[in-house]
Symmetry: C2
Subunit: 354 residues, 2 copies
């Protein structure tokens, strides 16, 4: 398989390197051949080409089987008056690759649950899989400025079409079948017309195609509450782009170990994009102390979703759990224990896999 690496900015290169080492170990162990091509995205791409997503990167991704991304952005490119910004590269690659579904598993690791801001009895055992619609909604609708009677206005349009809702709800409902069989759709149908369409379509898709899935609907404001008060009650959650942006970030705080959480963005066919959900952490870049486990778990998702290598994915996930159980910690997840660096953590995962 042909894998594009997009190390990006900050700690991106360090953690992607550990991901690649783990993929290589899987290739050896399970007798696969993975070839890699490294391309530019984000701030480093702006510095070298003026474009946060240069065309050669798009071409390479489109020709690949899967894409592994580190992180983009940093204070260097934060000037609001700059011509372009690293995040523009992120939004563009989602559109170019047709990555309409962002999967974010929110899991707790028993060893780390003491670091959760939530009380143990509330968070322990939480296991949610979010599906966030990623190429529609208010992120990509018509927008602009207009001066009306001398007063400046700015607008952005939230748009959803029936097929856009159908395809992401289908993916989510399928995933629910392979898990606890429960699906929650989150909207704001009491106020927003696109949410009313979303609710109608989601209900129809589940009723007609997934009658075995236990389905319910929650308003986005209520969901923001439930995630804190009873996170264990949810299995698969599907929602629109903007609500998913907010709710998945809220949910990512619950386990107390942001450095452990991966994400996958997938489309109808073509390559998926896999990444840790944490950012480029410019404050610790180059220090060799970033936690590579979210990226390594993103590699497991890459194997599962893009390469259909379930055993290989499970092997990585089991290895990460073993490494944690053995007490190995990078500084971000250490609670008193001695900590190790990025490469040493990669080594520990490789040792278990060997």
């Amino acid at each position: 398989a042909n894998i594009v690496l997009l190390p990006g900015d900050g700690i991106g290169p360090e953690i992607v390197l550990q991901g690649q080492r783990v993929l290589d170990a899987i290739a050896t162990k399970f007798n696969h051949q993975f070839t890699y091509q490294s391309c530019l995205i984000g701030g480093i791409a702006i510095d070298q080409t003026g474009d946060p997503l240069p065309q050669p990167t798009i071409d390479a991704c489109l020709a690949s089987d899967a894409v592994l991304l580190g992180a983009v952005g940093g204070p260097k490119w934060d000037d609001p008056s700059a011509k372009t910004r690293p995040e523009v590269g992120l939004l563009k690659i989602r559109k170019e690759l047709g990555l309409f579904a962002n999967l974010r598993p929110i899991q707790t690791f028993p060893e780390l649950v003491g670091a959760s801001p939530l009380r143990r009895e509330i968070i322990e055992g939480t296991d949610i899989l979010f599906f966030r619609e990623l190429t529609g909604g208010i992120y990509f609708g018509p927008s602009g400025r207009e001066t009306i009677d001398g007063v400046e206005h700015a607008m952005a349009t939230m748009v959803y079409s029936v097929p856009e809702v159908e395809r992401v709800v289908r993916l989510a409902a399928e995933a629910a079948r392979g898990r606890d069989g429960r699906l929650t759709s989150v909207d704001k149908a009491n106020v927003l017309e696109p949410s009313r369409l979303w609710r109608q379509v989601a209900e129809r898709v589940v009723r007609e195609e997934f009658p075995d899935v236990k389905y319910d609907v929650v308003l986005v404001d209520a969901m923001a509450m439930h995630l804190i008060s009873r996170p264990k009650d949810f299995d698969v959650v599907v929602t629109s782009n903007m609500f998913g942006d907010i709710l998945t970030d809220e949910a990512s705080m619950l386990p107390g170990s942001l450095g452990m959480l991966p994400s996958a963005s997938i489309g109808a066919d073509g390559p998926g994009l896999y990444e840790p959900i944490h950012g480029s952490a410019p404050d610790i870049a180059g220090k060799g102390i970033a936690n590579p486990l979210a990226t390594i778990l993103a590699c497991a998702m890459l194997l599962r979703h893009s390469l259909k290598l379930e055993d290989e994915a499970a092997a990585i996930e089991a290895a990460v759990r073993k490494v944690l159980a053995a007490g190995h910690r990078t500084p971000d997840i250490a609670a008193g224990e001695a900590s190790i660096g990025t490469e040493a953590m990669g080594d520990e995962v490789l040792k278990v896999l060997a």
Copy 2:
């Protein structure tokens, strides 16, 4: 002063009654005269007039000095195919009274902090005042459906104008001056054009008119995280309608005592609207066990913001703290302690005020 009561649905009438008793006690104690007029809103208004906000209610509110609302809604009016819904009354009264700013204090009560889903050391001492823009944004922009090439689309438009941002930011910055002097503006300026306008205007207003206020900007997804991991770091927070809807509900879970939280919606002049943030709780309606303290604290906000009676407001707040310290609890905030009912809780507050 002339106060309109909008008891609404579910537990609404029970808690508004206790609010009225407390206002009467304040009138006696401080030698004021309050007159009341009770009007219809929500489900009960639909049942009696077909309209969730009948014109006589609007007229009475416009002629009043302040409005005290219980809660609206319930399963009886939840049919998605119904011609109208109780919440329509809420959205309409905000527009009719020009209530462009929703104030939501998120405070912790030392006696109740054990009920928070957050660990004590994270939540204890949290004291945030949210300003949510309430009559603009995607709630009130153009919306509709359109069939394009045979595919049904639904849209809603987020719109903000310069003066809409200015006025709510001004109120928030003024409030910051009277508190810890810090203001956080929350937007999604890396993606949404109205957020970029919001950020420009907010920065200018604070720089030009409130140079003494310590100001910062946080993205909405990051804010959803910070509220959980470090709620104590925030003083006054200002944001748009949709983001405020989600973030204030998220924040309302943090203290672990939803039944204690009031809210105020105010405009340029004219009456403000005061209410508990919890809903109509149809499951306990009529049982006499609803917690009236959020409504009683909403009465304190009414006295402070609409009637400019600061001492009277402070007297109510002090009385509520005393009642809690004395161990009185309705069932929702009891943790093992014996609990009392709605009216008995009202009695306790009256006793302290007497």
